[in-house]
C-alpha cells in the first residue's frame, strides 16, 4: 500500500522578495488522501500550483512514479496524470459544459480541423451520467449553472481521465453539505482505485476525518508529515502555528471593561444580495470582530461602515449624529478602512509609497494655500513609513514590488498619518508572515489602549479569539451569534455558529 507515488524534492519558489516555498521535500503515497495544511501564506497553494503547471517551478523537482515532471500548464500536467480543482471558479463563462470539461483536450474530437460537437456532447453526457450529475446538461452554457454545479463540472473535468494525482485546493469551504458529500465520495473512489488525492483544507476536523496522511507547512517551510490516526486537532494546531500561542502574540489581557461610549452605530443595514438587516454598536476603545465563512457577507460589513457599499439601505451613524454614506464622508469623519483585496482596493499599486501614504491627507498637507510642497510630503511619508518600519529603499519606491506585509504596513501608515479614530480592518493579516502579523497585533492593541475603536473582519478564527473584545458571527448575510472575550473561547464555538 505504501508505495511512493509522488516525491517532492527541495522545492523552492520566490515571488519577488517573498519566499513562498523554501526547500520543501516530502513523499506522497499511492492510494491515499494526503492532506496539506498550514496557515494562510504557508505555501500550500503555491506548491500545488507548481505541481499542476499554474506557476512555474522555482527550483527543485517533482518526481511522479519515478519520472521527473515539470508541466508548463494544466493541460501538460493533465497529460502527466496530475489535475487540480482550484479554490476559485475554474470554469469559463461563455462556453458549454462539454467545452469546459474538454478544454485543452479537444483534439480527440477534431478531424481535419472540424470539431465534432455532437461526439463531444455525447461523451460529456456519458461522463456526467456516470458521476451521477444527470441534471447538468452537456450542451448547456455553463453560465446557466450556479457556483456549486460549476464545481461539480470541475470535479468531472479534473478526474474523468483517471489521473494519478488529484489536487483539491480548499474547495470544500465553498460547497454546501450536499456538495461536500459528493466530493468526499469521489475522493474515496480515487483513493480506492489506487490513485492519490492531495487535499487542502482549513477545516481540521474534516482533515482528520477524510485524510490518511497529513503534511504541515509553515511560512513556506516543511514541518512534518504525520498519520491522521496518530494526531489530534490540538497537535495539528501546534504544528501549524509553531509555538505555544503565548500572551505577547495576541492580546494577553482578559476581563478589562470596555467603555460604554458608543462611537459608531449601525442600524438595519442591508446590502442587496450580500447582507441583510445587520445592526450593532461599536464602543470606544473596543476591538469588535466579525467572523464567518468568506461568503457570509462579513466582508461587506466593512465596506458598508466605510460608505463604500452600493445600494446600501439602513443607517451608519456616528456618536454626533453624522450619517456615513460615502467614502469621503467616512474619511472626513476619521474612519479608516483596509480592504481584503489589498492590491486593488487598499494600495495604489503603481504609485510610490510616499503618494500612497499622503493620499487621504493631501488637504491637511496643502493647508490654506492649496499648494503642496514636495518636502512636506516627503517628511510626512517618511515619518509614518518609518513609524511602521516599512522595509524600503526610500518613499519614492513603488508599492508594487513590496511584499504583502509591507504593503499592509503602507496602508496602515496612511491611516495612522490621518489619525483615524475608527479603524475597519478587513483580513489585516491575510498572506502576511508571522513577524509582521505580530507587529500588526501589537499596533492594534496600542491603538485600542489609545482609545481608538477597531472593527476586525477575519477568516482566521484564532486571531479573532485572540484579539477581540467581542465577536459577531455572520452566516448567509445575517448575524448568527455574538461572543464576548473569554479565555475559554475556542474555534469550535465559533464554527458551530458559522455553518
Amino acid at each position: 500500500m505504501s508505495e511512493v507515488r509522488l516525491q517532492v524534492k527541495n522545492l523552492c519558489k520566490n515571488f519577488g522578495i517573498t519566499k513562498a516555498v523554501q526547500n520543501v521535500s516530502f513523499n506522497v503515497n499511492k492510494g491515499e488522501v494526503h492532506a496539506l495544511i498550514g496557515e494562510n501564506g504557508s505555501g500550500k497553494s503555491t506548491l500545488t500550483n507548481m505541481l499542476t503547471g499554474i506557476y512555474s517551478i522555482g527550483s527543485g523537482t517533482f518526481i511522479l512514479d519515478g519520472k521527473e515532471i515539470h508541466p508548463k500548464n494544466q493541460v501538460e500536467a493533465n497529460n502527466e496524470g496530475v489535475s487540480i480543482i482550484v479554490q476559485e471558479l475554474g470554469t469559463l463563462s461563455g462556453l458549454t459544459v462539454a467545452e469546459n470539461i474538454f478544454l485543452g483536450h479537444e483534439d480527440q474530437f477534431v478531424h481535419f480541423g472540424i470539431k465534432n460537437t455532437n461526439a463531444m456532447n455525447k461523451k460529456a453526457t456519458e461522463l456526467l451520467k456516470k458521476y451521477g450529475f444527470d441534471r447538468i446538461k452537456a450542451a448547456d452554457m455553463i453560465d446557466n449553472y450556479n457556483f456549486e454545479d460549476r464545481k461539480l463540472v470541475e470535479i468531472v473535468k479534473a478526474t474523468y481521465f483517471d489521473p494519478k494525482v488529484v489536487v483539491i485546493d480548499e474547495t470544500t469551504t465553498a460547497l454546501s453539505q450536499e456538495g461536500r458529500e459528493e466530493l468526499y465520495k469521489h475522493m474515496e473512489r480515487i483513493r480506492k482505485s489506487g490513485n492519490t488525492v492531495i487535499f487542502i483544507s482549513h477545516d481540521l476536523p474534516e482533515i482528520l476525518d477524510k485524510s490518511d496522511t497529513i503534511t504541515i507547512l509553515r511560512d513556506g517551510v516543511y514541518i512534518d508529515t504525520v498519520k491522521s490516526k496518530d494526531v489530534t486537532e490540538e497537535d495539528l494546531k501546534k504544528l501549524m502555528v509553531g509555538r505555544e500561542v503565548t500572551g505577547d502574540y495576541y492580546r494577553s489581557d482578559y476581563g478589562e471593561k470596555v467603555s460604554d461610549e458608543v462611537v459608531l452605530s449601525v442600524k438595519n443595514v442591508t446590502v442587496p444580495g450580500l447582507i441583510e438587516n445587520v445592526s450593532f454598536d461599536l464602543h470606544k476603545g473596543e476591538i469588535l470582530g466579525f467572523g464567518g465563512l468568506s461568503e457570509s457577507g462579513m466582508h461587506e460589513i466593512g465596506k458598508a461602515v466605510f460608505g463604500a457599499s452600493y445600494d446600501r439601505e439602513g443607517a451608519v451613524t456616528l456618536a454626533d449624529g453624522t450619517q456615513i454614506n460615502s467614502i469621503p464622508t467616512a474619511i472626513k469623519n476619521s474612519i479608516a478602512y483596509t480592504s481584503k483585496d489589498r492590491d486593488n482596493e487598499s494600495v495604489v499599486l503603481n504609485q510610490s509609497i510616499g503618494d500612497n501614504i499622503c493620499l487621504p491627507s493631501l488637504d491637511e498637507l496643502a493647508g490654506k494655500s492649496h499648494i503642496l510642497r514636495d518636502k512636506k510630503r516627503k517628511e510626512f511619508a517618511d515619518k509614518y513609513a518609518k513609524q511602521m518600519s516599512v522595509k524600503m529603499v526610500d518613499v519614492n519606491q513603488f508599492v508594487s514590488n513590496l511584499s504583502g506585509g509591507n504593503k499592509q504596513k503602507v496602508v496602515l501608515a496612511r491611516w495612522i498619518g490621518k489619525d483615524s479614530d475608527i479603524v475597519v480592518l478587513d483580513s489585516p493579516t491575510r498572506g502576511i508572515d508571522i513577524k509582521v502579523k505580530q507587529d500588526i497585533y501589537q499596533l492594534m492593541n496600542q491603538m485600542r489602549k489609545n482609545g481608538k475603536s477597531i472593527i476586525m473582519i477575519s477568516e482566521e478564527l484564532m486571531e479573532l479569539i485572540g484579539m477581540c473584545d467581542r465577536i459577531i458571527i455572520m452566516k448567509d448575510g445575517k448575524v448568527s451569534g455574538q461572543l464576548d472575550r473569554n479565555k475559554d473561547l475556542n474555534e469550535n464555538s465559533l464554527i458551530s455558529m458559522m455553518v
Partner: protein, 316 residues
C-alpha cells in the same frame, strides 16, 4: 430543462431582433409612405447591409476576446485597392480581385496581431498607429488616383453574386465559431485570459489567429465594397476611420445577443436594422452630412443599450 431554456432564449433573441426590423420599418413607412419600404426597397437595403455584415462577423472574433481594431477602414481600403490593382493592372480578373483582397486583408490582420502581441501595447493603440501606415501604403499603391473596378468585374456588386459571397462568408464564420478549436478558445480567452492560459491555451497564438481571421473577412468586405461602389479612393489622415463604424455596430449586436446563443444571426439582422434606419433618413431627405451624425449617434445608442452598467466596475 436546460435545452428548452436555451431554445426559448434563442427564440427570444429572434423575437427582439425581428421586432426591431418591423419597428424601424414601420416608423419610416409612416413618415414617408411613398419612397420607402416596399419589398424591393427592403431587398436593396438588405443587400447593402451584407457588405458590413461580412466584416462584422470577422471582427466579432477580435471583439469577443476583448480587443479592438482601429484599422478596419484602412484595411478595407488597402485590400480593395490591392484587389483592384491585381484584377486590372495585372489582368487577373476575378481571381485577382478575390485573392488580392482576401490575402491583403489577412496580411494586415497578421501584422495587427503580431505587433499587438509582440509589443504588448493595447490593441486599439497599435492598430491606430498601423492604420496610419496602411493608409499611406494604400495611397502609394493607388498612386493618388481613384481605382475603378471595370464593369465586367462587378458581379459581387449585385444579385446574386453579393448574396452568395456573403452567405459563404457567414457560413465559414459559423463553422469557425462552432466547429473548430478556434471558436472555443476565442470564447475561453474572452471569458478569462488567465484561466485560459492556465488551461494550456496558447493565448497569444489564438489572439493573432483572431486578427488574421478578422482581416480575411474584412478582405471579403473589401471585395463587396468596391464591387458595390465600383471605385475606391485612397484617403489619408485617418479619414478611413469612418469605415470602421458600421461593422463595429454589427459586432455590438453580436456581443449583446451572445447570451442568447445567436451572435451571428444577430449581426446579420442588426446590420439590416441599421441600414433600414439609414435609408429611412435618406428617404426623409436628410442631408448627407447629417448621416455621419446619425451613424455616431446610432452607435452610441446601441452600445448604451447593450452595455450593462455595473456599479463599481472599472472602465477605462
Amino acid at each position: 430543462m436546460g435545452t428548452t431554456k436555451k431554445i426559448s432564449g434563442k427564440a427570444m433573441g429572434y423575437v427582439i431582433l425581428i421586432g426591431l426590423v418591423i419597428l424601424s420599418w414601420a416608423i419610416f413607412k409612416i413618415l414617408t409612405p411613398h419612397n420607402f419600404g416596399s419589398f424591393s426597397n427592403m431587398l436593396n437595403y438588405f443587400q447593402a447591409s451584407l457588405i458590413a455584415t461580412v466584416g462584422a462577423v470577422g471582427f466579432y472574433f477580435v471583439m469577443v476576446m476583448g480587443m479592438f481594431d482601429f484599422s478596419i477602414g484602412a484595411n478595407i481600403m488597402l485590400s480593395a485597392i490591392v484587389g483592384c490593382v491585381f484584377a486590372t493592372r495585372f489582368n487577373l480578373g476575378y481571381f485577382g480581385l478575390i485573392a488580392g483582397c482576401i490575402i491583403t486583408g489577412a496580411i494586415v490582420g497578421t501584422l495587427n496581431g503580431l505587433f499587438y502581441v509582440k509589443l504588448r501595447i493595447p490593441s486599439m493603440i497599435v492598430t491606430t498607429g498601423l492604420a496610419l501606415i496602411y493608409e499611406s501604403v494604400a495611397n502609394y499603391i493607388a498612386g493618388g488616383v481613384e481605382q475603378t473596378l471595370p464593369s465586367n468585374l462587378r458581379a459581387f456588386g449585385q444579385m446574386p453574386g453579393d448574396i452568395i459571397l456573403a452567405l459563404v462568408a457567414c457560413a465559414v464564420a459559423y463553422i469557425f465559431l462552432n466547429y473548430t478549436k478556434i471558436g472555443t478558445y476565442t470564447y475561453a480567452i474572452g471569458s478569462d485570459e488567465f484561466v485560459a492560459k492556465n488551461m494550456g491555451i496558447n493565448v497569444n497564438k489564438y489572439k493573432v489567429l483572431a486578427f488574421i481571421l478578422s482581416g480575411a473577412f474584412l478582405g471579403v468586405m473589401a471585395i463587396l465594397t468596391i464591387s458595390y461602389g465600383s471605385s475606391m479612393v485612397a484617403v489619408t489622415g485617418m479619414a478611413s476611420m469612418s469605415r470602421n463604424f458600421i461593422p463595429t455596430m454589427g459586432c455590438f449586436f453580436g456581443l449583446a445577443f451572445k447570451k442568447y446563443g445567436m451572435p451571428l444571426p444577430a449581426i446579420i439582422i442588426g446590420e439590416f436594422v441599421i441600414n433600414i434606419i439609414f435609408f429611412g433618413f435618406i428617404a426623409l431627405g436628410a442631408p448627407t452630412a447629417i448621416q455621419d451624425v446619425i451613424t455616431g449617434l446610432a452607435l452610441l445608442i446601441i452600445i448604451t443599450v447593450t452595455t450593462k452598467a455595473t456599479k463599481g466596475e472599472i472602465v477605462k
